[in-house]
């Protein structure tokens, strides 16, 4: 799969402060790419550079294999974290204006807006002013104007803030739909759990540096600890626990089993099959719970940060 976006050795300084320190990324075409990291890590700086709002001090950015040019804004849709609309402008007028700034003709913009307004069932808002809408309603309009010009690259910075769970789900569905239609999506967020399940690829950024990036599953495999959370229904918990301790590394776990028995985290040596553990457990009772602890993005993040420092 070829890369839609290539970021090579980008450096950005604001005076004394380094916002991005030699960051390189590859965003494959048609993927959902998570740009994760805590507040102030440099995510927004990077996104602003991709959007040509600011220029990097050094480094290059290729979109579809070619260096960015001013007209590329027409191929990028950006929903910033700090977002809003003109309060006293009417919804329709405003959407048309923003669409035209992205290079759409007025008639084409009208046609597409009608499609989206029908889809979200918000046609009645056309002549309302933004200040008359609720925050969630305004966010929907904002989403529409972000994707209206069918950009190759969509960048969402904290996309779900301001949406209630139902609308957040609706938007998430639309985003995946856009991905299926060929768009490439970049998610930026500090709430890693919120988008993790949607991402194919992730990059973790901390203190201006990229610390981890790649295919999400690969990274997870790399950071897996081969630890299983187990729950066995048994009357002889301590005996089983002692038995396990002889073969594996065990630690306490924090889930609750409905029947009385033994709950533990068990780490098996690298290369061993979990079946060995399972069959051992099954001899001593009903195995009600057997789950690999897959590291979450934030677990990986914490580990990666610790490893780096």
């Amino acid at each position: 799969m070829s890369n839609l976006l290539e970021i090579n050795n980008v450096v950005k300084n604001y005076g004394e402060f380094t916002a991005l320190n030699n960051v390189s990324l590859r965003v494959p075409k048609g993927s959902v790419f998570g740009l994760l990291g805590p507040n102030g890590a440099g995510k927004t700086s990077l996104i602003r550079i991709i959007n040509q709002i600011t220029l990097p001090d050094s480094g290059t950015i290729l979109l579809d294999g070619k260096p960015l040019v001013p007209n590329d804004v027409e191929h990028i849709g950006y929903l910033p974290e700090e977002r809003g609309l003109y309060k006293s402008m009417k919804v329709g007028e405003q959407a048309l204006y923003l669409a035209q700034l992205k290079g759409l003709s007025k008639s084409e913009a009208k046609k597409r807006l009608k499609y989206w307004f029908d889809k979200f069932d918000i046609g009645a808002w056309w002549d309302k002013k933004i200040e008359e809408l609720s925050k969630g309603m305004a966010q929907k309009v904002q989403f529409i104007v972000t994707v209206l010009h069918k950009p190759k690259l969509l960048i969402f910075d904290e996309p779900f803030s301001g949406f209630d769970p139902i609308n957040a789900q609706l938007i998430a569905k639309e985003i995946l739909q856009l991905r299926d239609e060929g768009a490439t999506i970049i998610f930026s967020t500090h709430r890693m759990e919120s988008v993790e399940e949607m991402c194919d690829y992730i990059a973790l950024i901390n203190k201006s540096n990229k610390i981890v990036d790649g295919k999400l599953d690969d990274i997870k495999r790399q950071y897996r600890s081969n630890t299983y959370q187990i729950g066995v229904k048994t009357n002889s918990s301590s005996e089983v626990e002692n038995l396990l301790k002889q073969h594996f590394e065990v630690s306490n776990t924090d889930f609750r089993m409905l029947d009385e028995g033994l709950t533990l985290n068990v780490k098996i040596p690298k290369g061993n099959s979990p079946n060995e553990l399972f069959s051992m457990l099954s001899k001593h009772g009903d195995v009600q719970h057997f789950l690999e602890i897959v590291p979450s993005a934030s677990d990986i993040f914490i580990q990666a940060v610790n490893k780096n420092s």
Binding site: I53, P80, L101, V145
Partner: protein, 441 residues
């Protein structure tokens, strides 16, 4: 270019569709003309009141001829009553005041011993009038004392009028000088008003984009510089439209009002002049002189004036409004703008003061020349000087300086603007602004 047009259009419409714009456009000229007429009527009514002044002339030097009644002054001779009785009468009401001329032989001593009593402190014009009556009477008395025939003095009066030419052969007169001052002052004042009103409106519009958080959405589609430029031009267009409508409304309203109230416009303009001045003016305007005036107006550097007006108007407006845009970008809300507004307003106001204080007296003096070169004051001061004819090289230097400064300041403002629009929270200091200017890319 297409995007710039879109931005200009939006900014223009956003401004024009605003309710306060409509109110300002259609109400303020009515108010201004209305207030003008009100002031005129009140002052006229005030002047029409006849002032009754009592005089007690113990010196017996004055006659009824000296204290002649006029349209607004009635003089009453209470010499027979004596000063104490007269003062009582005045206190009882009905009289403006009483002037007491005591019996003293020496005119010099008498001249400083005359007193005026009134209930309230008297109008200065009344006192001046009385003083001039007394002065001319005493002068005549002294002249007669020297054995000079007063009729001869009267006959010897002669009016001179110097005709003025400059070396390029242009003729000028005092009247045309006043006209030049008027044209220059109006142009300079208009520029200042325009910059203040529409410069701050650019600033407000930038702040609005910041507070509504739409700015980042916009700058992901257009260059910040384009947005700033579009804003400045859009607001200026709305402003020009407003000025244009004001002009038309003022004309119509003045016309209606003057015909409705029966107020003669010339009367309104000349209301403040004394009868002598009026007469002189009437003479001047009448006949040949009127023709000369028209000719002289056409001899003014009209084309140059027009071209320079456009140049300095645009130059001044763009220079200042880009600074206003930068201030708007630097702050989060309007209350934070104060500390940055002062340095912008100062040269603007200075320009108008310098213009009114020096250009009128001495259009080619060193102060007016220097300030018509300094780019921040030059649009106003130079506009005021232009009608008097400014050497081409001075204009060239001034224009070049303005142009260079304009480009430089727009560059600086754009830098501050570009960084500032994406900064929230902390109120920036001048040091921060300096840092922003130095940021690359």
């Amino acid at each position: 270019m297409k995007k710039l047009k879109l931005i200009i259009r939006r900014e223009f419409l956003a401004k024009v569709k605003n309710k306060s714009f409509l109110v300002m456009t259609f109400l303020s000229p009515l108010l201004m003309v209305g207030i003008g007429f009100l002031v005129f009527f009140l002052s006229k009514k005030n002047d029409e009141k006849i002032k009754k002044i009592v005089y007690v002339d113990e010196s017996k030097l004055f006659t009824e001829n000296d204290f002649k009644d006029t349209k607004t002054y009635d003089y009453v001779d209470y010499t027979a009553l004596g000063i104490e009785e007269s003062k009582k009468k005045v206190e009882e009401g009905g009289y403006y005041g009483v002037i007491h001329i005591p019996q003293i032989d020496s005119l010099e001593v008498l001249a400083t011993s005359i007193t005026f009593y009134s209930k309230e402190s008297p109008n200065m014009s009344v006192i001046e009038r009385l003083e001039s009556t007394i002065e001319s009477k005493f002068k005549n008395l002294k002249l007669t004392g020297f054995g000079i025939d007063l009729t001869k003095i009267e006959a010897s009066k002669i009016a001179a009028e110097i005709k003025m030419y400059n070396f390029s052969g242009e003729k000028s007169s005092k009247l045309i000088n006043w006209l030049k001052i008027g044209v220059g002052a109006i142009a300079g004042y208009m520029l200042m008003m325009f910059v203040m009103i529409y410069g701050t409106s650019v600033m407000r519009s930038v702040i609005e984009e910041k507070t509504s958080r739409i700015i980042e959405v916009i700058v992901s589609s257009v260059k910040p510089f384009q947005l700033m430029l579009g804003k400045i031009i859009g607001n200026a267009s709305a402003g020009l439209l407003q000025f244009f409508i004001w002009g038309i409304i003022m004309l119509i309203v003045s016309f209606i009002a003057s015909s409705f109230f029966g107020v003669n416009m010339t009367e309104m303009q000349t209301a403040k002049m004394s009868p002598e001045q009026l007469e002189a003016m009437n003479n001047a305007v009448a006949g040949d002189k009127a023709q000369m005036l028209v000719q002289e107006i056409f001899r003014l550097p009209l084309v140059t004036m027009f071209v320079l007006f456009i140049f300095y108007f645009l130059g001044g407006y763009f220079l200042y409004s880009s600074l206003f845009a930068a201030v708007g970008a630097a702050v989060d809300n309007e209350t934070d703008t104060q500390q940055f507004m002062l340095p912008i307003m100062l040269p603007l106001i200075l320009g108008v003061y310098i213009g009114f204080a020096t250009v009128i007296n001495d259009p080619h003096g060193p102060i007016s020349t220097i300030f018509s070169m300094i780019p921040f004051t030059s649009p106003i001061v130079m506009l005021m000087r232009v009608p008097f004819g400014v050497p081409w090289y001075e204009i060239a230097i001034s224009m070049a300086l303005l142009l260079v400064t304009f480009v430089f300041m727009v560059w600086v403002a754009a830098k501050i603007y570009r960084v500032g629009i994406l900064m929230y929270g902390k109120k920036p200091t001048y040091k921060d602004l300096w840092k922003w200017i130095k940021y690359k890319g």
